[in-house]
Subunit: 448 residues, 2 copies
């Protein structure tokens, strides 16, 4: 009979126990941060109607990179490529009763039909943080603080990662007030800027030139790509009208920089005029987090503020800001800087109680003992071979546990248990009733 | 603009924080059991090639109840309706290096395109336990022990649930040796028995009559549906050949009953000749767990032993046994018997430190305090309104936290903090350096 492949589908991943221990160690560390910031976990379905992504997300996600489920009852369903539209739907449904600000996080599985490559999977876990109903810049600041805490919790330093931020309202002001670009072309500029990184210089220039006929606009847009301070960017332009400095975009960005300074976050953050994010729904502060080294050149993850996502579902308005951290890229970052301790992958059997029965007629007695031990929350494994003590002890040794119980017909008859300390190799025989006390004694002395 | 629906897709579920707390409380309790039995967690992808289910699972799952992803690169992909084929694939890949017995568990999201109804969702979480490479009945016994521990951990009693078990090898022996059914008709009998519950008496009789022309076979099969002890079942048949009592199926089932007795599990378990399980791959002990009451009449979940699942992927053989517990049905069971404490759904804010700054110019100072407090793993929320202390205190009160910090310009200037005990309504002002000590004092006295 021909055999099927033992591998997962292209771009997908099997998590064997050691792999999952590593991933869950990363997720649990980030969950701890969610908890101390007062964020609550939620979950939404893996499938949504495709329209809610088509309306607000990005054409590329929906048309090129989507996994679509074959029609059922006339609906076209998409395996979610990102979480934000589902979040908006859930908020819209209970907006009236949800207390503001809403601080939520989630660990969704997302899907994108991309060419598998370093840091990209077709199925991947994300961790999403969002704060909604906090319209002030303190909401954005809190999210930046969370991002910094996530990285530093794993031991990363400002030399290893930076949050590159910008503000769409600021770019709007530059484009409209300085470059005199029409408002209806702004979305195209965002798309171009977001793609700039993946294009070479000439390609990008051609793309921009085709969009705009006016050479001064073209040159202006090309300059948007480069600057790493507001002042440097503005030096590029003559004739900045006075009211530009009173624009919401300019003032908000300057105020945000002041807040970053005040919160001691400046060392982790750098302005970047080219950061705008690919998704259509962003409106305010946006950011991408990068590895500052040469190993991982793509953005690790990004996020930003969105003001009218609820409009898909309701007439109510609520502003939110947040990010979706993809675990594949983040793990690569941690690996690059050796921030994942190797022992995380290994299973610790030290407090597992191994029971070796030397004849099958003691099986019932071993089951009773195991029940008693598990009731105390000690992991307990029975070796069901019930013969050849040497083989059983060698199996226990292989696991690296500290305590093995040896049960023979005598132990059973006298309601006793022989306890072998696998480290000192001492054995004592005690009454069955004292077994838990004896286990605690040995684990307290020898355990981790 | 027309609005999209705020509801999840039909048959799918949103988990708001209170819903997720409840579900995770259930899952975490079951995870604890996995841990004390020494089971390790793994994860596999949501998508698999449809062929591995078509080959071994059930026609109904693959043809009628599947979510299929539109073709990509010529492959037809299925959103997994159950986990076992993926488990088999992963084991097949690393069978050589995996130490036996393999004890694994997983919490997959599965999909079935069924008519949504009580206890049935189109997307649902399962908890799967499997032990592989333990060929003896002790493997089955361990799984039964785990099932019983899961139910009793939540407080359920033998009066509320029963594991109805059977053995496919036993039914094989009955059909072949007593009823003289040809081996190639066995699969049809399993299918019929599995469906019997959903058909009425007459429908079932017609179905069986159509399959078999011989009246004695038909009558025999009809009797397979009813008995709740081996002896009662066998009383139905004349002419039982002597070698039937030497058949593997008969001996194994009797031995298993002896083991259940020995392990004190008999009160939770009942033989049922009609239990065979719908999936094609089962070979030995099979079981379905039922609510014994009238509220939930469908099986809560089931499982059984499979001997050659690896054959899809490799020439190696390994026998396994396990179950997939669907959380929707299990939650319904727990709700029916009021085994979910209501407070599980509520969030406990008691140890959350709420910071109320009374002027915006103290914002930087509140951020520093929050950092310090979060570093001690206390949840900390800053009220970013920075005005109107009364409103901020009333918000804190609404949360039900114990400690609120009040920060004004004086506190900031003198590097002090005013701590308000929300229960006693006492306020004291302390040096910033002592804030953590003071928090511990109050939480130790008033916290949960």
């Amino acid at each position: 009979m021909p055999k099927f492949s033992k591998d997962p589908l292209r771009g997908m991943e099997d998590f064997y126990p050691e792999d999952l221990r590593e991933m869950n160690w990363i997720i649990d560390n980030i969950r701890d941060i969610a908890e101390v910031y007062g964020y609550e976990a939620f979950e939404s379905p893996q499938l949504e109607p495709i329209e809610i992504f088509a309306a607000k997300s990005s054409d590329e996600l929906v048309n090129e990179q989507s996994f679509i489920v074959e029609k059922k009852e006339g609906e076209r369903l998409i395996l979610i490529p990102e979480l934000t539209p589902s979040l908006a739907r859930m908020i819209a449904k209970k907006n009236q009763e949800l207390k503001k600000p809403i601080r939520w996080y989630s660990v969704p599985i997302c899907f994108r039909y991309e060419r598998p490559q370093r840091g990209r999977r077709r199925q991947f876990k994300q961790i999403n943080f969002d704060i909604l109903g906090e319209d002030s810049l303190y909401g954005d600041l809190e999210i930046f603080n969370i991002v910094v805490d996530i990285f530093t919790k794993f031991g990363a330093t400002a030399k290893q990662f930076q949050i590159y931020y910008n503000n769409r309202r600021f770019i709007d002001a530059v484009c409209q007030m300085i470059l005199k670009v029409q408002q209806n072309k702004l979305a195209l500029i965002y798309k171009a800027l977001d793609k700039a990184e993946k294009m070479d210089e000439n390609e990008y220039e051609d793309y921009i030139s085709e969009l705009f006929q006016d050479n001064s606009i073209i040159q202006g847009i090309l300059r948007l790509k480069k600057s790493d301070s507001i002042e440097d960017l503005l030096k590029n332009f003559d004739n900045i009208p006075d009211n530009f400095y009173n624009s919401e975009g300019y003032k908000e960005l300057k105020e945000f920089e002041r807040l970053l300074e005040e919160a001691n976050l400046s060392e982790f953050c750098t302005f970047s005029s080219g950061v705008v994010r690919g998704l259509d729904y962003y409106t305010g502060i946006v950011y991408e987090v990068y590895d500052t080294g040469t190993e991982n050149t793509r953005s690790i993850f990004g996020g930003g503020r969105y003001d009218d996502l609820l409009s898909l579902f309701s007439d109510e308005q609520i502003s939110g800001t947040g990010f979706g951290l993809g675990l594949v890229m983040f793990s690569l970052f941690l690996e690059t800087y050796k921030l994942i301790p190797q022992e995380i992958r290994e299973r610790d059997y030290s407090d597992t109680i191994y029971i070796a029965g030397i004849k099958e007629n003691v099986s019932a007695y071993t089951l009773q003992l195991a029940q008693k031990i598990r009731a105390e929350d000690f992991p307990c494994i029975i070796d069901y071979r019930f013969s050849n003590l040497k083989n059983q002890l060698s199996k226990a040794n292989e696991l690296g546990n500290i305590i093995t119980l040896i049960i023979g017909p005598n132990e059973m008859k006298e309601k006793k248990v022989t306890i072998r300390n696998m480290i000192s190799e001492e054995q004592i025989t005690v009454d069955k009733e004292h077994i838990i006390d004896e286990i605690y004694k040995i684990i307290d002395e020898y355990g981790n």
